[in-house]
């Protein structure tokens, strides 16, 4: 299985990345190479093998539902590229 230009256009779109024609060519070749290399896994018998998402035997670690001090609004907003009236500002979302 190799990666087509159409595939790369599709995944660039899902990833919210714009590609130039030149980049599209380059990434199609490079991603095809990598995916063909990864295809070596298709020869391994994995029938009945449980997938490992995580190597530690833990799940759903919760803390107590108690109030704790959080960060200061002004401090957090220092990193925002655009802000207004104590909020992060964005272009109009709803028409």
């Amino acid at each position: 299985m190799s990666v087509s230009k159409e595939d790369v256009k599709h995944i660039a779109n899902l990833s919210k990345l714009n590609l130039t024609d030149e980049e599209l060519e380059k990434y199609t070749t490079q991603l095809s190479d990598i995916v063909s290399f990864a295809n070596e896994l298709s020869n391994i018998n994995v029938e009945g093998v449980k997938p490992t998402a995580h190597i530690l035997d833990i799940k759903n670690v919760f803390r107590k539902d108690e109030m704790q001090p959080s960060y200061d609004r002004e401090e957090i907003l220092k990193n925002a590229p655009s802000k207004d009236a104590g909020c992060v500002s964005v272009p109009k979302v709803v028409e």
């Binding site: 595939d7 990833s15 990598i34 670690v61």
Partner: protein
Amino acid sequence: MSLYSLTLTEVAKKIKNKEVTIKEVLDDIYSRIEAVEPKVDAYITLTQDLAYKRAEELQQRLDNGEDIGVLGGVPIAIKDNICTNGVKTTCASRMLENFTPIYDATVIKRLEEAGAIVLGKTNMDEFAMGSSTETSYFKKTKNPWDLARVPGGSSGGSAAAVSAQMAYASLGSDTGGSIRQPASYCSVVGLKPTYGLVSRFGLVAFASSLDQIGPFARTVEDATMMLNVLAGHDNMDTTSANLEKQDYTEALVNDVKGKVIGIPTDFITEGIHADVKAAYDKAIETMKNAGAEIKEITLSYAKYSLATYYIVATAEASSNLGRYDGIRYGHRAEDFNDLEELYRKSRTEGFGPEVKRRIMLGTYVLSSGYYDAYYKRAQQVRTLIVENFKKAFEDCDVIMIPTAPNTSFKFGEHSASPLEMYLEDIYTVPVNIAGLPGISVPGGFDSKGLPIGIQFIAKSFDEKNLLQVAYTFEQNTDYHTKEPTIEEGK
């Protein structure tokens, strides 16, 4: 002998015994940086003002007879993907060029509680994606052993800073070898602890099930001192292991009698540089002479680690890097007509080529129609690799393999083919896939005088066995005592 060539342990002792002041140590290391940094380019940001302020406080406390900690006054460098309160943390990306965290990573808190002083933030591959530090948006870090060559990556700046004696130790992060491989290329010690031993809170996420923070140091003893400070449970990281605190310095014993060292002969086969193979064979001899039992083992699935890694790691990365949308922090494009265009332009401008490649690959393996063939299958092979190691550790205490199949390469040598570069990670990646601890120790030089690293791997949370074997290897060799020329090779 200059102060900067001392080990961390030695300088900490001199400060504690008041043979030198902390200010003298700082003056010395910053003047070393001034002299060498223009050639090596290991740092993105230097934090002199904060460092001198802290030095003053620490000295005052020391003069008042207080205990200022095991790393009291020791200057340390930090990889630029670890959050430092009030100090820019860029991940060597245009995306985070102006990002200043408002909190410290847990490891920074721990280091500071132990008295360490942050010297600055080090260069790296963008978002820790790479094996040469060439994908940094800002600069190329040079290998102190040959300035025409790469320091390895992704923690290339942290490795080069310690190698060129511009820091007594440093922090890196290791997702597929990003501490051990540059340690090997730069002839320093690089330790990747067991997944869960060191808190990842404040580490900018790349692949969350594989990432781990660890130290670079000039000796195994120094790396152990660092681990003692870094290890421990943290409520802020849900994957942090809740174990009893250990004193790893107990492992600093020059003795491997009765220890069984596994040699996976079916894994170390083709594609290895002849000089690396020779150094590896010599290392086996060294351990045998030191009294270890050498035993052949099999790791039949280890060769599939690389394919597994590039599916699992990119899948996790594509998800983790979804947060960079130009809204709350990070790069925002200037011209856009609507929200969709803001996202697209900000991400297109903010990320470099390697990051885009991995986001797209990860998106591909997770996308509808390919999920089962790639992502799910890779997770199943991951299980086989984990079991492979478990079985191998029934027959041995520690596994020994080279850290990388080759020594450092020239800038641009692998730029045309990302896959070629990925193959450099073959010996480091299996350790992350299985969540094990691994360490790279200086293990010789090739015919060009470039460093070779020997890697030791142990069972999960068995850092003591790991460190004892690594320490014994180091004490029975002298590679770690050699210093780089900081010139271009011939």
